[in-house]
């Protein structure tokens, strides 16, 4: 027994080793709690505020009275402080009654109003409105006189005011106890253009615009289906905006749909300026560098995702729709993969995976090869690199950082440059960075190749925001490589893999066909199988209807 004990004690590590082990354990535990703490901050702030606002927000309904002047004054009191609200008073000749049109300047179709409302009321109409009881006048006008499509009665003063501010034209007639709201809004919208952030060679050249109704109609126009459902929400506490979710009701997973609805209802913010706000308010993990919703300007991309069982979120006032849930494979897919035949589609997709790897790892690999593992470079190349790097005063990390940061600045500047001088600046910047930096001995020519390949690779990623993610992570990789060489690079890669396999987007694992493994979904991951082979919808979406073919 004693011998056993002495055997054990003689093999125990000394106190230094124990202390090291303890410290490394403490670090791991510390990171865990720090992470938990960071997440808690957002969870608290984002919690839905359970306020009963209904009581304060809706005072007792104040209906319009029969008295014309009183009504007009009441309205004027509330909204006439706005300089763009116009009151147009006129006489209806037939019944000798005064009337007022209330509208916001620039929001209504003036031609329609003057042609189909004022002209009819002011001139002698064929319809006889003289003998009608003023109380029934509004109904009569709607049914028999006014030839406009969207018009309805409003008796509540508050409703009336809001509608006017939203763009309706209100018609108030003496003796009539309610107002007529004529919906003839004429929002200026831009022409439908090809989406500039997602241009394709083959495929529809149509992109979303800023008008929600146009966008939803674009989705409807993709092809007829009674399956497509579009639900409307209003988001924003102070300024309200329309938001719709679109899904295929016989395909989509009901739990997923409920989750999306819940999260949208929880959105609690003053004003939703762009779908990026929505994205950030409903995402799963705000600390992840990877996006958890996909934004797109392409209706075809949206409709394809809907058919896979995903859900689209469209916001008024932005051409960017959101698709949830997103998986890693989607970030490297382009609609063109499906429009082209399967061989080119597969080739391009593989190329993109390779490019994504390069965009993420190339500078890190360069640093670890140059600074840590000269033996892994082919001999002839090693000799050339030694020769070219001899004048370079910096270690490889600084060298790479100089060039990478200048490229990033150049790229950022390129977005903001006015169109006519954009290309010129690109050439100047490229020349200076590429040629002169080498001549000046700041960087080695081999690095210029590495950085150029990296930059080009990150542009080949079809989803722009995914490219930015890789660009950010690249710097992390470079630091890891500079500290620990290839070992650090591999650790960094494993760290990303670990994070990705833990990440979820609306309950769907981020790297799902890979982990958890779903081999049947691999048909549409690295390769794009021929269409007849893809008989099933992606398993990962757990759709109601599993088959693509009827």
């Amino acid at each position: 027994m004693i011998t056993l004990w002495t055997f054990i004690t003689s093999n125990l590590p000394d106190w230094k080793m124990c202390a090291q082990a303890l410290i490394s354990m403490m670090i791991a535990i510390g990171i865990y709690f720090f992470n938990k703490y960071l997440r808690l901050i957002v969870a608290k702030k984002n919690a839905p505020i359970q306020k009963k606002e209904n009581g304060d927000e809706h005072p007792a309904k104040s209906n319009l009275s029969v008295d014309y002047d009183e009504n007009l004054n009441a309205i004027k009191q509330v909204i006439s402080s706005n300089s763009d609200v116009h009151f147009r008073e006129f006489q209806i000749t037939d019944i000798q009654a005064r009337a007022t049109l209330i509208f916001v300047d620039g929001m209504q179709n003036e031609e329609l109003i003057s042609e189909h409302v004022m002209k009819i009321l002011m001139s002698d109409t064929e319809k006889d409105i003289t003998g009608i009881n003023p109380l029934a006048l509004s109904a009569y006008l709607l049914e028999n006189v006014l030839p406009v499509c969207e018009a309805y009665e409003a008796a509540d003063l508050r409703d009336l005011n809001q509608s006017v501010l939203k763009g309706c034209t209100a018609l108030l007639i003496e003796g009539m106890p309610s107002a007529l709201l004529i919906h003839a809004s004429n929002m200026k919208s831009r022409a439908i253009n090809e989406p500039s952030s997602e241009a394709l060679l083959r495929g529809p050249r149509i992109g979303f615009t800023e008008v929600l109704s146009e966008n939803t109609s674009m989705l409807r126009r993709q092809g007829f289906s009674d399956d497509l459902e579009i639900n409307r929400y209003e988001v924003g506490a102070r300024i309200k905006r329309k938001l719709v979710i679109a899904y295929m009701k016989e395909i989509v997973n009901q739990d997923l749909l409920q989750e999306v609805r819940d999260r949208i209802e929880k959105i609690n913010i003053d004003f939703v300026a762009e779908s990026g706000y929505v994205e950030q308010l409903i995402e799963d993990d705000y600390l992840s560098p990877f996006q958890q919703t996909q934004n797109t300007e392409r209706p075809d991309r949206v409709i394809n995702s809907l058919l896979e069982g995903r859900i689209a979120i469209l916001l008024d006032g932005t051409p960017f729709a959101l698709i949830v849930p997103v998986t890693f494979g989607m970030l490297l897919q382009s609609p063109e993969d499906y429009y082209d035949r399967w061989l080119p589609g597969t080739f391009l997709r593989m190329l993109r995976f390779f490019a994504a790897f390069l965009a993420l790892m190339a500078p890190a690999l360069y640093i670890s090869f140059i600074s840590f593992h000269p033996g892994l470079i082919p001999t002839e190349l090693a000799i050339t690199i030694i020769e070219t790097r001899q004048g370079v005063p910096f270690p490889s990390l600084i060298e790479v950082l100089i060039l990478e940061i200048s490229i990033e600045i150049l790229r950022e500047a390129g977005i903001r440059l006015p169109k006519p001088i954009g290309p010129a600046m690109g050439i100047v910047g490229g020349l200076i960075i590429g040629e002169a930096a080498v001549q000046a001995g700041i960087v080695s020519p081999f690095l210029v190749i590495v950085v150029a390949v990296t930059a080009i690779s990150s542009f080949s990623i079809p989803v722009y925001s995914a490219g930015i993610t890789l660009r950010i992570l690249r710097f992390g990789g470079m630091l890891c490589a500079a500290v620990l060489g290839m070992f650090g690079t591999i650790l960094f890669f494993l760290f990303i893999c670990g994070h990705l396999s833990k990440l979820k987007s609306f309950g769907v694992p981020y790297v799902t066909p890979l982990s958890p493994v779903r081999f049947s979904d691999w048909k549409d991951l690295f390769v794009r199988a021929p269409l007849p082979l893809m008989k099933k919808r992606p398993k990962m979406m757990k759709t109601q209807d599993k088959n693509r073919l009827s």
Partner: protein, 396 residues
């Protein structure tokens, strides 16, 4: 206050990570690569003598002179000088001592950039050194070192190994030239199949006799010529095979990819046979206790050169006669090799022993301790079949 303290602690902790910095990094331009290693009999060069006379001494026996070929030398030095004349792309550095590893580290006292072994391509050992020292001792460091790749090739040099690391073309690196020349074995079977460190490790530790390609050199020119023999049990160099022997060896082993058999016909005119394919089958026969080997060689080729203007190669009879001549020539070459192996040096370097060990492992176990001796008494018969498939694009 508490909050500030917490921040300070986090800052200090993070500095632990940051100040470590790139602790094991070594920029590639701060290192130099040695592409070749030449081992000679210990003989101090003049500079070394001079340095030692000034007190640059440490405890050593001058057994081995190791030369490393360093590439590239500093490029801006080269750029300046290259205006005047073409400057060498490499530099050779020689040191003498009795431990290869110590010599390697001693280089750091002579040059600013330490040498790294990852890109070592060739090791050349002079036969004179291999005669004095045991091969397993000489190779011990290079086999043990983690940096040096197992694909590094090993050669013998007839003269001084240092001389093979000189070159008359300044833009070329001699070590790379030697390394690439081994790829020419598809042009002539006078170039042996390479022996790299992995194979050498096995050969040395199994106490087998083996061959290393010989290099001869003169004024910056080199030639692969024959091979040096290392005797298995003594692990020392005992002699050479000439170029013809190396050719014959490739016929016995059947591993040649191309080459020539040149002979003279009945009018004493040159005729040459271009080897297109080569096949050999070695069989061991055991009758009681008597071992014998039979090697059958088959080859297809082309009559590629015919100086005999009186003969017409398009005639079948002539081709058959030529086949006979080539077969006789090959038989003579094989005979000369066998005599060298069995009588002169009493070593088996053609792989007969391996063949026996596969066919008759029991018998092999009994005699393997004394195989080289045994082999010299074993009869070997040959059966040669050369076929001339065509006579090129000229009929006459």
């Amino acid at each position: 206050m508490y909050r500030q303290k917490k921040m300070l602690i986090i800052l200090l902790l993070s500095s632990l990570v940051v100040i470590q910095g790139c602790w094991s990094s070594k920029e590639i331009e701060d290192l130099s690569v040695y592409a070749g290693l030449a081992l000679d009999v210990g003989e101090r060069v003049d500079i070394e003598r001079d340095l030692e006379s000034q007190g640059a001494k440490y405890l050593k026996k001058n057994l081995v002179t190791a030369t490393v070929q360093i590439v590239p030398i500093k490029s801006f030095e080269r750029q300046e000088k290259s205006k005047e004349k073409q400057l060498l792309k490499y530099s050779n550095l020689r040191l003498t001592g009795d431990s290869i590893f110590e010599i390697m580290r001693q280089y750091s006292t002579r040059r600013d950039r330490p040498v790294i072994g990852h890109h070592l391509k060739v090791i050349v050992v002079s036969t004179k050194l291999a005669q004095q020292q045991h091969m397993d001792q000489l190779m011990d460091f290079v086999l043990r070192d983690n940096d040096i790749r197992p694909s590094c090739r090993v050669f013998f040099s007839k003269g001084k190994a240092y001389d093979t690391f000189l070159i008359d073309q300044p833009e070329e690196v001699p070590a790379f030239r030697i390394n690439s020349m081994t790829q020419n074995s598809y042009r002539t079977n006078k170039v042996m199949k390479e022996v790299n460190l992995t194979q050498l490790d096995g050969l040395i530790h199994s106490k087998q006799s083996f061959l290393l390609q010989n290099i001869v050199s003169s004024n910056g020119e080199i030639e692969f010529s024959g091979a040096g023999i290392i005797k298995g049990d003594s692990s020392k160099w005992i002699g050479d095979l000439n170029q013809e022997n190396v050719e014959s060896l490739s016929w016995i082993q059947g591993n040649g990819h191309g080459g020539v058999i040149k002979s003279y016909d009945w009018r004493n005119q040159t005729i040459s046979y271009e080897i297109k394919s080569m096949k050999s089958k070695m069989t061991a026969k055991l009758k009681g206790d008597d071992i014998s080997f039979h090697v059958s060689i088959e080859s297809k080729g082309r009559l590629i050169e015919n100086w005999d203007i009186n003969e017409n190669p398009s005639e079948l009879a002539y081709l058959e006669a030529a086949e006979k001549i080539f077969e006789e020539r090959l038989a003579k070459m094989l005979d000369s090799l066998m005599r060298k192996m069995q009588s002169k040096y009493k070593v088996d370097v053609a792989g007969f022993g391996k063949n026996l060990s596969i066919q008759y492992p029991q018998k092999w176990k009994k005699i393997k301790g004394n195989w080289d001796e045994e082999f010299s008494r074993i009869p070997v018969t040959f059966e040669i079949k050369l076929t001339i498939t065509d006579y090129g694009s000229s009929t006459k």
